[in-house]
């Protein structure tokens, strides 16, 4: 916390804090499960290892965030119950993550858009007045640094290889375009989080920071900037059939044995 003394801050409403944690946890959870589908079938053995390791990191971040959420919600549900016992419509991830993993180019394009937006979100929480989240974010950022190096290298590799690699990347960015900016779309009641010092800026500022961060990379690689989110209030609702399928997959073990551990 740098901008105000603790006594100046009003507590965030539990609901606003819960929605922030839910958005972050569901984002990491859904992209983690989606990308773990590459385990065993990635285009290179090295990428099989890398994508599996990255997915494992994301699922672990989701689990840690679900634990914080369980404490805030305090309704008797543990992290597993929150993670697995909701119908597909009850998930609150960004629509960017509603797309199927698609081909390798789509996975890379989506990871780039997501990781860069998530980095801006984590930075905005680095001085959070909600200490359990601040501490966890401090740890998560050290791990995400490796994801950023990995995804930037792949984006450059595909973008600068003329023919099929670049064409597939452009096609993927085009398919994702309308949902590209959904990760940082303003959350309901974000004013309460701002006034409490949980986050350091509103969603509109975070979106501007994200655009400033990715613009030089995309310009250098002659790739298009994503347009604004098509429908910000629906940025985290009305999920796709691709997600419904994934939901059926990732809840299957839980439905088979509710006591199974992660």
């Amino acid at each position: 916390m740098t901008t105000a003394a603790a006594s100046d801050l009003v507590p965030a409403t539990p609901n606003a804090l819960a929605l922030l944690l839910l958005a972050m946890a569901d984002d990491e959870f859904v992209i983690g499960f989606s990308d773990s589908e590459w385990t065993g079938i990635a285009p290179l053995l090295e990428e099989d290892v890398a994508m599996s390791s990255i997915a494992q990191d994301e699922l672990a971040h989701a689990q840690a965030l679900f634990r914080l959420l369980a404490d805030v919600v305090d309704d008797g549900r543990d992290a597993d119950a929150i993670a697995y016992d909701r119908p597909a419509d009850g998930y609150f991830h960004a629509r960017l993550l509603d797309h199927a993993r698609g081909d390798w180019a789509q996975t890379i394009a989506r990871r780039f858009l997501y990781e860069t937006a998530d980095a801006v979100r984590l930075e905005a929480l680095a001085g959070s007045s909600y200490l359990p989240l601040r501490d966890l974010v401090g740890k998560i950022r050290r791990e995400e640094r490796y994801h950023a190096m990995h995804i930037t290298a792949w984006l450059e590799r595909l973008a600068s290889t003329a023919g099929e690699p670049r064409n597939r990347l452009l096609a993927a960015l085009d398919r994702l375009a309308l949902d590209a900016a959904t990760v940082l779309a303003p959350l309901p009641d974000e004013l309460s989080l701002l006034m409490a010092g949980v986050v350091d800026a509103p969603g509109s500022d975070l979106d501007a920071r994200w655009r400033a961060a990715i613009a030089p990379v995309l310009a250098r690689l002659k790739l298009p900037m994503p347009p604004p989110a098509a429908d910000p209030p629906r940025a985290r609702t009305d999920h796709s059939d691709a997600f419904r399928w994934l939901h059926g997959e990732f809840t299957s073990v839980r439905r088979l044995d509710p006591r199974a551990a992660w």
Binding site: A50, S53, Q56, D57, A60, G138, K139, Y146, H150
Partner: protein, 152 residues
């Protein structure tokens, strides 16, 4: 009769608890032990996870509880992020033990040396390795693939 126990006795015992994934180093060598508190009826140990998703944490918790059970007090093991674990917490002894077992200790990429022959002619094969905390390298001098501990 209650056995005598103080913090250094507990730390000495923890130095015998191996990391389940790289058993040549202990949780003390890795710098995972943040605090040890000895109360009249309990011993509390705060450990720092190397990675948020380290799947070995439950195994480590059980191993610590088992190793300290002999002190005859309730043992509480907690994991937290209040202090982030960083790779520079690995002790000098820990770094030497890693090297001897074929793992390059965490370093700047420019300072990376092959743990087998000591050559600096090494290439990074993959940032990601068989566990979250390891990367894969290849030594051009002795033609040996090897792993390193990720600097975090």
């Amino acid at each position: 009769m209650i056995a005598f126990v103080d913090e250094s006795a507990v730390r000495a015992a923890l130095a015998e608890v191996p990391d389940p994934e790289i058993p040549v180093v202990s949780v003390v060598d890795l710098g995972m032990v943040e605090s040890v508190e000895v109360a009249p009826d309990a011993i509390r140990v705060e450990l720092l996870p190397t990675f948020v998703g380290c799947p070995a944490l439950d195994v480590i918790r059980e191993a610590v509880e088992q190793r300290l059970a002999g002190f005859g007090r309730a043992v509480g093991v907690s994991f937290g992020y209040r202090v982030p674990w960083t790779s520079d917490r690995i002790t000098a002894v820990g770094r030497e033990r890693l090297r001897a077992a074929g793992f390059a200790p965490p370093d700047d990429p420019a300072a990376m040396r092959c743990p087998y022959c000591g050559s600096g002619e090494v290439a990074l094969d993959n940032l990601f390795g068989p566990t979250q905390c390891r990367s894969l390298h290849y030594c051009r001098a002795c033609r040996q693939p090897f792993e390193s501990f990720k600097p975090v």
